[in-house]
Subunit: 295 residues, 2 copies
Amino acid sequence: MIKVALLAAAALAPVAWFALAPGDTPAPSPAEIAAGAPAADWIDIPESDLLLMDTAEGGRVVIQLAPDFAPVHVGNIRKIAAARWWDGTSINRVQDNYVVQWGDATEKKALPQGVVAKPAEEYVRSQKGLSPNWIEWPDPYAKQTGFWKGWPIGGNGENVWLTHCYGMVGVGRNLAPDTGSGAELYAVIGQAPRHLDRNIALVGRVIEGMEFLASRPRGTGDLGFYTDPAQRIAIGSIKPMSEAEPGAKSRHQYLSSGSFRAYRDARANRRDPFFNVPAGGADVCNIPVPIRRAP
Amino acid sequence: MIKVALLAAAALAPVAWFALAPGDTPAPSPAEIAAGAPAADWIDIPESDLLLMDTAEGGRVVIQLAPDFAPVHVGNIRKIAAARWWDGTSINRVQDNYVVQWGDATEKKALPQGVVAKPAEEYVRSQKGLSPNWIEWPDPYAKQTGFWKGWPIGGNGENVWLTHCYGMVGVGRNLAPDTGSGAELYAVIGQAPRHLDRNIALVGRVIEGMEFLASRPRGTGDLGFYTDPAQRIAIGSIKPMSEAEPGAKSRHQYLSSGSFRAYRDARANRRDPFFNVPAGGADVCNIPVPIRRAP
């Protein structure tokens, strides 16, 4: 193995870290904790919340929708996908350390019937009745940050909202009061642009295929738009996962419960052998919720 | 223009925002503040602190070294570049949302004479005598965060250190007490891995060409290493900027003083027309210090 471990983000072989007495061996890394988690701590993501994007050049991208946070926009997106409206559209913008964005480059394609053209804001939702798993470390953008149902969130005591972490998917819009229909979407490919929180409708996240989206050539036009239509990346299809060919379907799970809490704490206090100084805290976007293919 | 402005990270045409009475027009965006800054607020980066990387496939990357933070490692890197040791080596690892890493894939190439093979730790430096420009917003990783001489830093009252923001360059190492020689380097290409702060020697940052490094294909091996040597990206040369061909030389400046403070505050309180809710704070890594070609 070449020098330099840095951090193994890749899943490692399961290790029975939780059975070891403290001090017997080095502390497990976050990836080891996830890999050793019991099956009961992995929660199935409903197939009905998944979209499958296939691009002409072979990229496969799976998106998990977040109907609990932006139900009208997510409803639009379900209709748009079911109508195969995105088939034949393209990725039109890749701005380094910011976003990759796709949709109808002509801006002329009529939306499918039933799509709400001008939805109301869905930037926050009430916290009432929810029991988020708040983290204790301070955050420059929100009074509280943490997780709920496997999603990274911010909160102010009254409302909660999704945070613009790497891989999160949001709805492109023009100036307010426009909130966007959901036909034009972006995914975050750099440092979390958390200043967009509460200013844009986040509707989901990429749970597979980020390495494809994030490695597309950057556009050289304003805001990273491709200047030559030939540079655009053709989208073969975006469809509900339920409509994927049997061989193309995939099932996914996110880490929850005690294993997630142990993972979260290990992200904030790295004590595995590479580290000298544990940070003693972590940013909500630097605690990526582990997601895996269902075994 | 297509829908969806999001954020103009690209430099805009200069605007005389500072001459306008409050309330007369929308507040300027951070990019507008940088574009309108007076020449005196742009500080020249010494040519002697610049390295120029050229890759076989045409990518041009400029790296600014940080001798104030890791003098022995930076001294090594200057010697390695001057000896053209990296010429003919390669980018060997690209791990999505983490790092791109380059060096001698064979791990067998002898280092140039004078390189300190096992430098001591240079993870922090004393704050004594420095006057950092601290930001007021809380941070989950450090007691204080802010900027000094155009660099993003963390601090604990006694020491300061560079923070692992997008584009920062660090020294690959194995397990402690190894600190790495500087022959194997990485650049951050995703969410700031701030848990590495104080655990690795940061030695500089990429100030031009990040869009090239960040869009390389991700490796599919452990830790994002390329599994097939043919996937490696050949490095034509890495040389001191002073040794670049006249036509290939470039001069760079970073934003400082009052213009930087106005930019920083605008990053935390977006009041330009796109925004509904200013965050009221910002993460040190989400306030990228503006850097431009010297006019």
